[in-house]
């Protein structure tokens, strides 16, 4: 107890963790946690199921929305715009302007003379009409615009600004309403999705908390023999990852099942509208996104829980 010379060298004989052994450890932790999950099959299956259901709800809603949007996009009842020209207008000149503005659309001119003749032949008022000095009917240009409801809306604004156009009529209110509804639905999906993502994170965090409690003794020993925080955290993060992944897979299975159940009644409904329509189900990209979301939420929930609870477990 006399030698006062410090000997720092003796404490430096640390074992450098190589990248290879680090990767090996990651692999073994990943496999070990997976095995732990499998060992307690039912309880963990239920945990994953909760996550899966929470993920399936907004996704199902989202798929419904996509399909509705698809219907509204492919609706062949495109609005027909009628432009009533003012009395002094030169119909052919206006027609040229309109064709310029509504490029790619079907544009038809019904001159006032044509209109009068049509009316005369179909209404049986020909005698009365011939007695008139002037033709009371305006020339009309009919436009069947291409493009989305928004673009059609803009086109209507432009057309009604033309000098020789008295009035533009179009019946697109219902499409606008549907569109607004779809847009509202999109926000709703985001809000519901965020709420449920929050729920999933908390649920995974809670499951991880229980697991931390169960492995308290092990954590203490690992800390005593020099385990770093990252080392202690690792198995729990993998646990979160597996829960998220399991939840995502169950979510996809449930959605697939739901689609199968919904397909038949939906086809009956669609057939009644005599429309051709194919249900857009889960695509590979959706599955990939769900898996990614599940994994991210899993790791997030786990790291939140680990951050909160691991600090409290210190050897005494």
């Amino acid at each position: 107890m006399t030698d006062r010379k410090p000997t720092p060298g003796a404490t430096r004989q640390q074992l450098r963790p190589g990248l290879r052994s680090w990767l090996v450890h990651h692999r073994s932790v990943a496999l070990q946690t997976l095995k732990d999950i499998a060992d307690q099959g039912l309880a963990n299956f239920l945990s994953c199921l909760v996550i899966g259901i929470a993920m399936a709800l907004p996704t199902l809603f989202y798929l419904t929305l996509i399909n509705v949007a698809q219907v509204s996009e492919r609706w062949d009842g495109q609005p027909r715009l009628s432009l009533y020209l003012s009395a002094g207008a030169k119909p052919t000149a206006v027609l040229a302007k309109v064709s310029g503005l509504a490029a790619g659309s079907d544009v038809d001119l019904i001159s006032s003379e044509d209109a009068l003749m049509q009316f005369a032949s179909s209404s049986g008022f020909s005698d009365v009409l011939l007695a008139l000095d002037d033709n009371p009917l305006p020339s009309v240009i009919e436009v069947r615009p291409e493009g989305s409801v928004r673009e059609v809306g803009l086109l209507i604004e432009e057309l009604s600004r033309l000098t020789d156009v008295d009035d533009v009529t179009a019946d697109i209110a219902w499409i606008e309403r549907l569109n607004a509804l779809v847009q509202f639905g999109e926000y709703l999906v985001i809000v519901v999705g965020l709420l449920l993502a929050f729920g999933v994170t908390l649920s995974i965090g809670n499951t991880i908390r229980l697991s931390i409690e169960n492995r308290r003794a092990e954590i203490l020993v690992v800390k005593l023999v020099g385990g770093t925080d990252a080392f202690v955290r690792r198995p729990f993060l993998y646990l979160g990852l597996w829960y998220g992944l399991g939840g995502a897979v169950l979510c996809c299975l449930m959605l697939w099942g739901s689609m199968l159940l919904l397909q038949a009644p939906l086809h009956v409904l669609i057939a009644s509208y005599e429309a051709s329509f194919s249900l857009r189900g889960l695509m590979v990209a959706d599955v990939a996104a769900l898996v990614l979301i599940g994994v991210v939420l899993g790791i997030m929930g786990a790291s939140l829980s680990v951050g909160r609870h691991l600090r409290k477990i210190e050897p005494q």
Partner: protein
């Protein structure tokens, strides 16, 4: 190797576990820390491992001032200090091999090297061939040996033991103490806390006695 400079430790509630403790243990020395239960032996060991921090004074291990070590540097210190506990602190759901291999796993050692060192440590404590058993299947003395193997498998320069023979009969206790002596012979600095004066009477190593938190001899 281990130096205490006027160290005091007061636990919340006002109990002084250590008051003004100063001593130095040289490299390669083996020292017994004696005293009654509650004299502060465990607290002293905990300060060396940073399981506790002193209220006053400074602790040095290997020339390093532990007050300068932050939370993140604690694992590094603990890898330099092997510890044997009275209650073993073994993981009862892991095999003997896995228990002993834990410090090497943490240090990131390769599988081959780990296997070699674990077998060497187990053979050193006389437990060759028990790698695959669960600790629960072993006797108390054997469990303690597993704990010792785990403490030395990483070849730490410092070895601490807190009542390592607390639950063992005199014959086993003597064997365990002899084992610590062997580690000391190969250059490990050893500090053993024990209240079993009879046992260490015949062993020729410095003894430091704590009483009510003070060094009395």
């Amino acid at each position: 190797m281990i130096r205490f400079d006027a160290v005091s430790k007061r636990y919340p509630g006002g109990r002084d576990a250590l008051s003004d403790v100063s001593f130095e243990i040289a490299e390669r020395q083996m020292v017994f820390l004696t005293g009654h239960s509650g004299a502060g032996k465990s607290t002293l060991l905990k300060l060396i491992m940073l399981m506790e921090r002193p209220s006053r004074g400074q602790v040095f291990v290997g020339g390093q001032n532990l007050a300068r070590l932050g939370r993140r540097q604690i694992p590094g210190l603990r890898r330099q200090v092997g510890v044997v506990f009275q209650n073993h602190q073994l993981l009862f759901d892991r095999t003997v091999y896995d228990n002993v291999a834990l410090p090497l796993l943490i240090a990131g050692l390769g599988q081959k090297e780990t296997g070699r060192r674990v077998r060497a440590a187990l053979s050193k404590v006389g437990l060759s061939g028990k790698e695959g058993q669960l600790p629960i299947a072993l006797s108390g003395g054997e469990q303690q040996r597993v704990g010792i193997a785990r403490a030395v498998v990483n070849k730490p320069p410092v070895l601490l033991a807190d009542e390592p023979t607390g639950n063992l009969d005199p014959v086993l206790s003597r064997e365990i103490m002899a084992l610590f002596g062997e580690f000391n012979q190969v250059g490990v600095t050893v500090l053993i806390a024990t209240h079993d004066l009879e046992l260490i009477e015949e062993i020729d190593h410095p003894k430091m006695q704590l009483s009510a938190g003070r060094v009395v001899s």
